[in-house]
Amino acid sequence: MNSKDTIVRNTFLCAVAFALASCATLTKPESDVSFENLRAFEISFVDQYAVPVKRFDAAAFDAKVAEGNAKFQDAMTNEKFKARRPVLKDLADQFKAEAAHLRKKASTGKITKALAAEMKRDINDNYDHATAKKTE
């Protein structure tokens, strides 16, 4: 291999490395924003429906759950980091489980302040773990 070939090869490798690094730099914050939007949605969902002695509006509740499911579906479709897709799937399943538990409790008037606080605690922990995960 002559020196010209070596220069061409090295230039090509540098270009590939730069492209990959640029891609990660440009899309990671975007991905983080998506996670933070989902976190904010879930917290507001709990704030809205995990309220002691509040009358339960089944239609509004179901509409909000459908909105949440659609947000997760969009986030999974648009997530550029493949490694984060299963994490989003876990978060989506977690949201479904929360919604099912809240529906059961709210429709029977068994919501407590502690339930709301602990739900929000788990949501925040789940998102903290999810966003801390490596994206390679």
Binding site: D90, H101, T112, L115, E118, R121, D122
Partner: protein
Amino acid sequence: MPPRKKQNKPAKPRPKKQKKSSELDSVLDQVSDSTVADAKKELQNLLADAKGNSATFFQQNAQKLEERLVLVSKGELDQDDFNFFVENQKRAAQIFIDSQPPQAQERAEKLTIHLLDVAATKIVPVLIAAAL
């Protein structure tokens, strides 16, 4: 002027360090049901092991569990709520266990999933019955 020598005061005997009793210990002390004595002991040992472990995950998991058991004893969470939170914790624990080297997985499972199971199946029903 020569420097004044410090007088050697006789050392005061330090009070012995007592193991800090947690709020959960007080709650468990009130459970007099002898049929759960072994489960109580197992729970306390596992919680102590988990909280003394260097891995933050074990400590946080144990802390959450302890606080939720106290909420159950106060009637602020019921068995249904507790089971829901235990399932969440078990899901997170399984992800953590899978990330551990094979030789550490058995112990990790004992300090997380087994600990949560003992609390949910043996301790919480007694706490709820005592709170009624």
